[in-house]
């Protein structure tokens, strides 16, 4: 089975490009040029150098003695929290800004939930000297205020979105509307493996550096490239896509995706898409979607702004349906406990999103000689108000 997208952007029955005609020109241009551009030598060289010297890659693969003791297995933490700007999001924004430059675009827009993607976009725009506008739900502006301040300091304009649930879904709607109204000069840097083809595949490729490094680092540390488990949280699914990417076709590697259960999957206040969703179309692709019988999108809930989204990327919908990945979930409370635990046992304060991945450690029966990699997708600075 192939778990990558085909050339029309389909992962099994999921994916594609369900866009209004107003977006056709831009999406068509991306579809026809993205592979050539990002596979070109000049692009690869520039991307690699920036990941290294600007973002600080490779990010460490850290053996956690104390978690390993506690869970009676071998636990490695992939430290995406140590990247410049504090999360994996920078991998994608560096890639997309280089692409936007090559396409001759002069104005950048983005949506953001937790603000990590917004900060990562504002950062690369500052460096590239491009105008940057970030759409962010009004609820998220309030709960992730340190990131709002950072975006402003970096010279970006943050537009608070008042429609719908005032979170990530609505910020994405507004960014799409902006692109429809500004089709010529603007590139839309989508922050996860969602959206119309080619975004899911393109963002996954930019994030795939995570699993590329894990293979090399594990080989040095334990003498083999493949772990027994890779665990990552899923909002749209970009850090998980990057962590899984080079293991998708290694059946011995168990892929664990962790969704946000909010107050609990059955409570009506949740963002666990695979548990609550059905096939549907939102933001340009066919995937799993939380929706009513009438096809209206259900407003999700999670304490974590980055996971508070009613869908998942089409790659993950396919990994779920084919059972290539196992989908677990963690509640707000479980995530908060996991964040506290890692902080006090290892001196690492994880992002609330990443804390969901850590919480899943309690839900799996490991063998003593298992090699487990947890992706710590970001750091918790932005979440201090929620933690305290």
């Amino acid at each position: 089975m192939n778990y990558q997208s085909d050339d029309k952007g389909y992962y099994g029955m999921f994916g594609g490009a369900f866009i209004p005609e107003m977006m056709h020109q831009n999406i068509d241009q991306l579809q026809n040029s993205y592979i050539d551009i990002i596979e070109s030598k000049s692009f690869k060289d520039e991307f690699k150098l920036l990941l290294q010297d600007y973002a600080g890659r490779p990010s460490p693969l850290y053996y956690s003695d104390r978690l390993s003791d506690h869970y009676k297995t071998h636990i490695y933490l992939k430290r995406e929290d140590l990247n410049h700007t504090g999360s994996h999001k920078i991998n994608n924004t560096i890639g997309q800004i280089l692409l936007a430059k090559r396409l001759g675009k002069t104005r950048i827009i983005a949506e953001t939930g937790a603000g990590q993607h917004g900060v990562a976009t504002a950062t690369v725009c500052a460096r590239a000297g491009l105008e940057c506008i970030v759409y962010m739900g009004a609820v998220d502006v309030a709960r992730q205020s340190p990131n709002v301040e950072k975006m402003k300091m970096l010279g970006a304009e943050v537009r608070a979105v008042q429609s719908g649930s005032k979170t990530l879904k609505d910020a994405t709607n507004e960014a799409i509307r902006d692109w429809i109204n500004n089709p010529v000069d603007t590139h839309y840097i989508i922050g996860s493996v969602v959206g119309p083809h080619p975004y899911p595949d393109m963002v996954a490729r930019f994030q795939s550096v995570i699993s590329e490094e894990i293979r090399i680092q594990l080989k040095l540390k334990v003498g083999r490239e493949t772990p027994d488990y890779v665990i990552a949280c899923v909002g749209g699914g970009s850090n998980a896509a990057g962590s899984f990417y080079h293991f998708l076709h290694e059946p011995s590697v168990k892929l664990i995706a962790v969704e946000a259960a909010g107050l609990g999957v059955e409570t009506g206040e949740s963002a666990a898409t695979t548990q609550l969703g059905k096939p549907g179309i939102l933001h340009g692709s066919r995937s799993l979607l939380m929706q009513t019988a009438d096809g209206q999108v259900i407003e999700p809930y999670s304490i974590s702004a980055g996971l508070d989204y009613p869908g998942i990327g089409p790659m993950h919908a396919n990994l779920f349906t084919t059972q290539r990945a196992q989908f677990l979930n963690a509640t707000d409370t479980e995530a908060l406990e996991a964040a506290l635990y890692l902080s006090q046992k290892e001196g690492i304060i994880p992002a609330l999103e990443s804390a969901h991945a850590l919480a899943a450690l309690n839900k799996i029966e490991f063998k003593p000689d298992d090699i487990v990699v947890v992706n710590v997708s970001g750091r918790g600075d932005k979440d201090m108000e929620t933690f305290l």
């Binding site: 369900f18 209004p20 005609e21 107003m22 509307r177 179309i281 929706q291 009438d294 209206q296």
Partner: protein
Amino acid sequence: MENRITKLFTKKDKEILSLYFTAGYPELNDTETIISTLEKHGADLIEVGMPFSDPVADGVVIQKSSEIALDNGMTIHLLFEQLKEIRKHVSVPLILMGYLNPVMQFGIENFCKKCSEIGIDGTIIPDLPLEVYESEYKTIFETYSLSNIFLITTQTSDDRIRKIDGLSSGFIYMVSSSSTTGAKGAVDQEQLAYFERISKMELRSKRLIGFGISDKHTFQRACGYSNGAIIGSAFISSITGVGTVTEKVIQFMKKFD
């Protein structure tokens, strides 16, 4: 039976006045009243919006009317109930316009069948791309004699316009500018250049211009380059506020006498 859209254009091919409104707005059960009043007061064609929670191609007016309609309890099932008897007294072409997800959940075939039973003549589904329509849906739509209407914009290449022209059975929906829906006032130079470019292409399909058409002036301007125009947001705004919906529709239509 001959499709009413085709029939309309054989009778009249200038200054076709088409109105769009969101079903379930301002009140849940206004749908039939709005349609019959529009017909009685000069509408040549009516587009009934099926509200969606996340209308990415729409500006604030239609976002708001959709939100209120959904709060009022509007669904596709209910819309079909409301329209069950519509052909007893309404003869203008009726088009349903909405996003793909609710239609998909209803079931494409089921949806087309219902449309044909009721006497719906066409659909506009902005996020159903041409290529997907062609490969997956075209035969179903044709079985039920439904015209699916495609959009073109200032950004659409000539090649693509030709392709759309070949696939169109009702008319081509010319989006007046690069934008989401909503009134923008005057028609500018760039739009005029685009209108002229399309006129010169001598397409086989009829063309209606929509997005940003708000009053008699912009309507007539658009009609100079097409077979007619579509008014959405401006009409919805005009049926908002105090007074009966019938009175407000009549008031609005008076401007086009």
